[in-house]
Each structure stands twice: as structure tokens, then as C-alpha cells.
């Protein structure tokens, strides 16, 4: 290499190193190690951002979302289980912070409500069909008038 390109290469290496370290500092809070990535991503997609309440903390740009992602990541790296992290969040923000409401006595109706409606609808459907087919049989038999 000529002395000119060596100097340039050296400068580029320095710039690159600077960028990488500062980028790492900026993103360290949000970037999980490769083996944790799937778990981290799927977990933060289940936590509601309370500032932008229709977003999870994975997608939200709110500073609080960033802070919560940091907390989740730090706890995962410290070896805490998903349940422990959930307990931590719920203790501070309540059940609403979870996208999947827990199955508890006060949420029972929320969970089984739709099934109840379907069951109720089925019952009504069957009754109506039976009733209608009762009338229909009479109509089909000729001469019963």
C-alpha cells in the first residue's frame, strides 16, 4: 500500500471504531445477545406501552417504552425468568401492562364470554331449526293442509 492509502485506511479504521463503540453504547440497552434475541423480542411484544396504549413496548417510540425494554433486557441478562419479569411489571403497573390478561376470577368473564355467546347462539339456532323443521314436515306431507 502507498503511504497515502495507509493513512486513509488508518483514519477510516479510527472512524469505524469510534462509530462502533458509540453505537454500542447507544444501543447496548436495546440489543440482546444473539441467543436471547428471540425470547426478548417475543416478550417485549407482549408488554403494553402505557403511553401509547395500543402499542407494545417493542414498537413504541415513547421514552418509557425504551426504559421498560432496558429493564426487561437487564433482568433477562441477570437470569430472571419471564414470570419474574412479568411479576415485576404487574407489581408496578397493574394487569393492564400485559397484552394477555391473566386468567383470574375478575377476568374469567372476559376469557369465556365469547365462548358463552357462541354456545348461546348455537342453542338458539338449534331451537329455531327444530321449530322450523317441525313446521316444514307438516308442509311436505301432501294433503295435511
Amino acid at each position: 500500500m502507498s503511504s497515502l492509502s495507509k493513512g486513509r485506511a488508518g483514519r477510516w479504521a479510527a472512524i469505524l471504531a469510534l462509530l462502533l463503540t458509540s453505537a454500542r453504547a447507544a444501543h447496548a440497552v436495546d440489543t440482546p445477545p444473539a441467543e436471547m434475541e428471540d425470547r426478548f423480542r417475543s416478550y417485549i411484544e407482549s408488554v403494553r406501552c402505557l403511553v401509547c396504549q395500543n402499542q407494545n413496548i417493542a414498537d413504541s417510540n415513547a421514552p418509557l417504552a425504551a426504559d421498560l425494554r432496558r429493564e426487561v433486557l437487564e433482568k433477562m441478562q441477570a437470569g430472571e425468568s419471564d414470570d419474574a419479569i412479568t411479576a415485576f411489571l404487574v407489581e408496578r403497573y397493574g394487569d393492564f401492562v400485559l397484552y394477555n390478561p391473566p386468567l383470574q376470577s375478575n377476568t374469567l368473564l372476559l376469557w369465556i364470554g365469547p365462548a358463552l355467546f357462541v354456545a348461546g347462539g348455537l342453542v338458539i339456532f338449534i331451537l329455531v331449526v327444530r321449530q322450523r323443521s317441525g313446521e316444514g314436515i307438516d308442509d311436505d306431507v301432501p294433503g295435511s293442509g
Binding site: L50, V51, Q53, P63, L64, D67, L68, E71, V90, E91, R92, Y93, G94, F96, F117, G120, I124, L127, V128, Q131, G134, E135, G145
Partner: protein
């Protein structure tokens, strides 16, 4: 078969009809009742799970002097207020004058939690606008705010003499809110004496 006899038979066959009509209508009315109630609730006002529990512990530098460490012990011994604020929060500017008034007249110490703010900006803000706080803890990283379940500013907590969280108000504090929500709890916390 006569007309009336036919009609009677039809009526007998149509027996359960009114029931099949009533059930869906009732369900619908019940659903509508739930929806109307739900629409009148504000999802922004997430109820705080901290009510009735001891104030979350913290250990933060004071805004005025980073060498001084402030802890949750500040908040017990008498009913106190913890107000979460920041210079970037417009609602905080709105309630600031009322907080100054409260600090002068209400006889309740107000402590500040400066949330994710620039310390220098926060100090000048208070110098410029007046300082209603006995002390302000500086939570630059927002970790303490998370422990308190903070998700917006301003938020104001009422803490009892025993150090337990009695109430949390979201949105700027006003005279009306103070009278309606804090005063009854405060007099209860003081054992009836005002």
C-alpha cells in the same frame, strides 16, 4: 279446519318464539350497558397497584446538591406529596403555580421527583418559576419512576404518615382536584384533624 282452529294451531307451534326473541334482545341490552359504561371510562387512567402499599424505596441524588442522597424515608412521619415532573412536560408548567400555592397554604410537604430531565435545566426552571418542593430527587434514568409505576408526567402521589401510598393522581393538579380528591384523604390520614 276453521280459521280460528288453524290460528290456534299456529299459535301453539309458534310457542317458544317469544323466548327466542327475548334472549338475544336481553343479551344485546346487557352488552350495550357494558359498552356505555366502558365508553365513559378513560383508559389513560390506569389504576395504580401501589395504593395501600408502602412507598417504593429509592436512593437518589438531590437536584440541588448531587452529594446529598434522598430516600423514601423523606415521605413518612406525616402525610406528604410526591410530585413527578420534568421541564419537558407542559402539564407540569400548568400545575406549577398551583403547587406553589399549595406549598404555602396546605401544610403538606411536597417532594419532587424530577423524571428523565436535564439537571441543569431543571434547576434553572425552579429558580425562574419558583420552588414548591422541600426537596427534589433527580431520577435521570427513570428507574425510580418505573418502581413508582409512573407512565406520564405530571403525576402526584399522596403518601400517608405511615409511608403507605394513599392516592395517585394523573394529569396536572388543580384546586378542584385537590379539594375533591386529596382533601378528604388528607383529613382521614391526619385522623380527622385538618
Amino acid at each position: 279446519m276453521t280459521d280460528s282452529q288453524e290460528k290456534a294451531e299456529e299459535q301453539a307451534q309458534r310457542g317458544p318464539n317469544w323466548l327466542l326473541f327475548i334472549i338475544p334482545v336481553t343479551l344485546f341490552v346487557v352488552l350495550v350497558a357494558f359498552f356505555v359504561r366502558g365508553l365513559s371510562l378513560n383508559p389513560r387512567y390506569v389504576p395504580s397497584p401501589l395504593i395501600g402499599k408502602p412507598a417504593p424505596a429509592f436512593s437518589l441524588p438531590a437536584l440541588s446538591d448531587p452529594e446529598t442522597i434522598l430516600t423514601e424515608r423523606l415521605l413518612s412521619g406525616q402525610p406528604t406529596l410526591l410530585n413527578v415532573w420534568a421541564t419537558w412536560c407542559s402539564g407540569c408548567r400548568e400545575e406549577h403555580d398551583f403547587l406553589l400555592q399549595l406549598a404555602r397554604t396546605a401544610g403538606v410537604p411536597i417532594y419532587g421527583l424530577n423524571w428523565k430531565d436535564d439537571a441543569e435545566a431543571a434547576r434553572s426552571w425552579l429558580k425562574q418559576l419558583g420552588n414548591p418542593y422541600q426537596a427534589v430527587a433527580f431520577d435521570g434514568e427513570g428507574r425510580v419512576a418505573i418502581d413508582w409505576g409512573v407512565y406520564g408526567a405530571p403525576e402526584t402521589f399522596l403518601i400517608g404518615a405511615d409511608g403507605k401510598v394513599l392516592y395517585k393522581h394523573l394529569a396536572p393538579l388543580t384546586a378542584e382536584v385537590w379539594e375533591r380528591e386529596f382533601v378528604p384523604l388528607l383529613s382521614e390520614a391526619r385522623g380527622g384533624a385538618r
